[in-house]
């Protein structure tokens, strides 16, 4: 098996030791860093697909994600040197007044698995902080989460704050129990995902459009 195939396999299995050593082998063999990255992403893609098909659960995805993360720690300097950037940058957070964490974390996990650079602002994040992060990180995507009917209105304020920054390119997507596609349309967000598994496809579709 080639280094790249075994790397892909190691990520699928969530075997971090094997993943790390495969990356090291591939780097020693002077394989192009983009190819090594592609193998990692391919492995995670497969994990994501099995997760979406309900064949595996979150812990299995997290284990694979950890293998990917440790591999990336070695690979990243090489990618940077080669001028290769993550596909997309995303900022994510739960809006002000709301402490709910898990939905946001799951989306972050899915995005990282798709090799997005994810900046997690945490929970109870005021609109200004989202706007600042947009200015600082120039993300392609901002993900907003809310679980309460009484904090959902803060999504509107946050969208307004983000739209006021100079970055008009950024796509804003929403998620959380009280949120609907109608609400996303109403407040001028770009998209809505009803579950973490569909959050990657949503973003890819939005950016392509």
């Amino acid at each position: 098996m080639s280094f790249l195939l075994s790397l892909e396999e190691a990520v699928k299995q969530g075997n971090r030791n094997s993943a790390v050593s495969s990356v090291e082998d591939a780097l020693s063999a002077k394989l192009p860093p983009q190819d090594i990255l592609d193998a990692l992403v391919k492995g995670m893609d497969d994990v994501g697909r099995r997760f979406k098909a309900n064949a595996i659960f979150v812990p299995e995805v997290l284990i694979a994600a950890r293998a990917m993360k440790e591999s990336m720690a070695i690979l990243e300097p090489v990618l940077v040197a080669a001028g290769i950037q993550p596909e997309y940058t995303a900022v994510i957070g739960t809006v002000t007044g709301d402490l709910h964490d898990i939905g946001k974390n799951l989306v972050g996990m899915m995005w990282r698995g798709a090799n997005f650079k994810v900046i997690d602002l945490g929970t109870n994040v005021p609109p200004e902080k989202f706007a600042e992060a947009v200015v600082t990180h120039k993300p392609d995507i901002v993900g907003l989460s809310a679980l309460l009917t009484t904090t959902m209105p803060n999504m509107k304020i946050t969208v307004e704050a983000i739209r006021k920054t100079s970055d008009s390119r950024v796509k804003i997507v929403l998620g959380g129990a009280p949120v609907t596609q109608d609400y996303a349309d109403e407040i001028g967000a770009d998209g809505y995902a009803s579950d973490a598994a569909s959050a990657v496809d949503l973003v890819r579709k939005l950016i392509a459009s």
Partner: protein
């Protein structure tokens, strides 16, 4: 502090809806657990901000909710109604706002009582804001003070049942769920959670005693219901969620050890275990709480309930009327069936309980462990343990063994992708240290220490 060493209910046939060995009598003469199941209505605001400027509108909503719902309860000749008011975060942060709503609800209830002789009782459930600080400050600070103020003033105003969905340990438990790490789950529930419960419920008992009201109970909502929700979305195995549920009983039990007398709070699907241990009546929710969350225990949850709840619904208009009123109607009809069966005698109640149990128990692990015999087995494992850690481990072990046996002998269907988790969970439990002391050191070395403050749980470094 009481420590339960035996069961109040030893015989599965005595674990039934509507009857608890230690019923609770309210000021207006409702006897919860005394042979009648009461509907318990819950509600929340529609999408809106709660702040000083919107408080007039907030008041109007609660006014509308209580008037409309109780009017319908009178029409349907309900034997009594439990009203639960769960505050939203700003209402605990500004206890005056919460108290305003408490008074509006009590006035509506008083009017229905004086004009229509409708019995009702208010459960006040301040929302636990202590984790607005990260890491959470559990034993002091403004969030703690505000919460106690709201409890105190609500009890003084006539809120007769005090409840909470307390969050001690949740800062560790969320990640434990996503990793399906049973050790961290037990650490969060039986070490952090149990210690926080002792501290919190000792204070609440003091407040209740001062005002002559009752501590009703806590729920593992943020823990085991999060697990249930994740399992419904196929994020984590249902088997794991079932085991978390069993463990969560150890934590929720602490409220009763500190003086709570029921009815345990609706969303505690671990409540049947607590009813078996304590003999106190319990609120439950199931299918008629689909407005608030999906559940694999829609019917079986009713099998042992003493009040029957809808968990939460926004005050929005459905075609038939405002949603809280619609849901109260549904609850009242659910209760009518149980009350008919109770009136017909134990044979009829048990026959109906059997239908409720059998209709769900084979289809999901979380439902399976709520079958009366399985409840008793888990309850027994808990009371026979020496400390909370041992109890958590024993509950988990009993649950996974019951599930495995059920699956083996064909009583329980499991999705094929879950099968590997029988061994994973069992091995996870069996690999845990014997003593609580060893366990705590192990966990303190493993968990993300930036997330919580050991001193807030009276945990010293070992």
């Amino acid at each position: 502090m009481k420590h339960y060493q035996q069961l109040a209910i030893n015989n599965a046939d005595e674990l039934c809806f509507g009857r608890a060995p230690k019923p609770l009598t309210t000021r207006r003469g409702m006897v919860i657990g005394g042979g009648v199941v009461y509907p318990e209505l819950n509600f929340t605001l529609p999408a809106m901000v709660v702040d000083a400027s919107t408080m007039p509108l907030v008041r109007r909503h609660y006014q509308e909710i209580i008037t409309g719902a109780l009017k319908r309860a009178v029409e349907l000749q309900a034997p009594g109604v439990v009203i639960e008011f769960e505050t939203l975060p700003p209402m605990t942060e500004n206890p005056d706002w919460g108290l305003d709503v408490v008074k509006i609800l009590l006035e509506g209830m008083e009017e229905a009582w004086s004009k229509e002789s409708l019995k009702s009782v208010l459960r006040v459930t301040p929302n636990d804001n202590r984790d607005f600080m990260r890491p959470p400050q559990m034993r002091g600070g403004k969030y703690w003070e505000q919460m106690l103020t709201l409890f105190d003033e609500s009890a003084a105003a006539g809120g007769e049942l005090l409840s909470i969905e307390s969050v001690g340990g949740k800062e560790i438990h969320d990640d434990a769920l996503l990793m399906c790490d049973i050790g961290q789950v037990i650490f969060a529930l039986c070490v952090l959670g149990a210690r926080d419960m002792q501290f919190l419920w000792t204070h609440l008992t003091e407040i209740a005693d001062r005002h002559g009201v009752h501590c009703a109970g806590d729920t593992a909502c943020g823990f085991a219901n999060t697990a249930m929700a994740l399992a419904e979305q196929r994020m984590i195995p249902r088997l794991f969620a079932a085991v978390v549920r069993a463990v969560s009983a150890v934590r929720s039990l602490v409220a009763y050890e500190c003086g709570a007398v029921g009815p345990g709070k609706d969303c505690g699907y671990e409540n049947p275990i607590l009813k078996a241990i304590t003999g106190y009546p319990m609120a439950m929710e199931g299918k008629t709480a689909a407005c608030a969350h999906f559940s694999p225990m829609g019917n079986i949850a009713a099998a042992t309930c003493d009040t029957w709840s809808n968990e939460s619904v926004q005050n929005i208009k459905l075609l038939g009327g405002m949603a809280p009123t619609c849901y109260l109607e549904q609850l009242i009809y659910d209760c009518r069936i149980m009350n008919r069966a109770l009136a017909d005698g134990p044979d009829s109640s048990l026959a109906y309980r059997k239908l409720l149990v059998d209709s769900d128990s084979s289809l999901d692990p979380q439902a399976f462990i709520l079958a009366p015999e399985n409840i008793l087995a888990i309850a027994r494992a808990i009371v026979e343990s020496d400390d909370y850690y041992a109890a958590g481990k024993a509950a988990a072990h009993t649950a996974i063994s019951l599930l495995r046996d059920g699956h083996k002998n064909g009583q329980l269907k499991i999705n094929p992708q879950e099968i590997v988790w029988f061994d994973r969970i069992k091995e996870g439990i069996e690999s845990l240290p014997d003593s609580e002391e060893a366990f705590i050191s192990q966990q303190l070395a493993q968990v993300d220490r930036s997330r919580f403050l050991p001193e807030e749980y009276a945990l010293s470094e070992s």
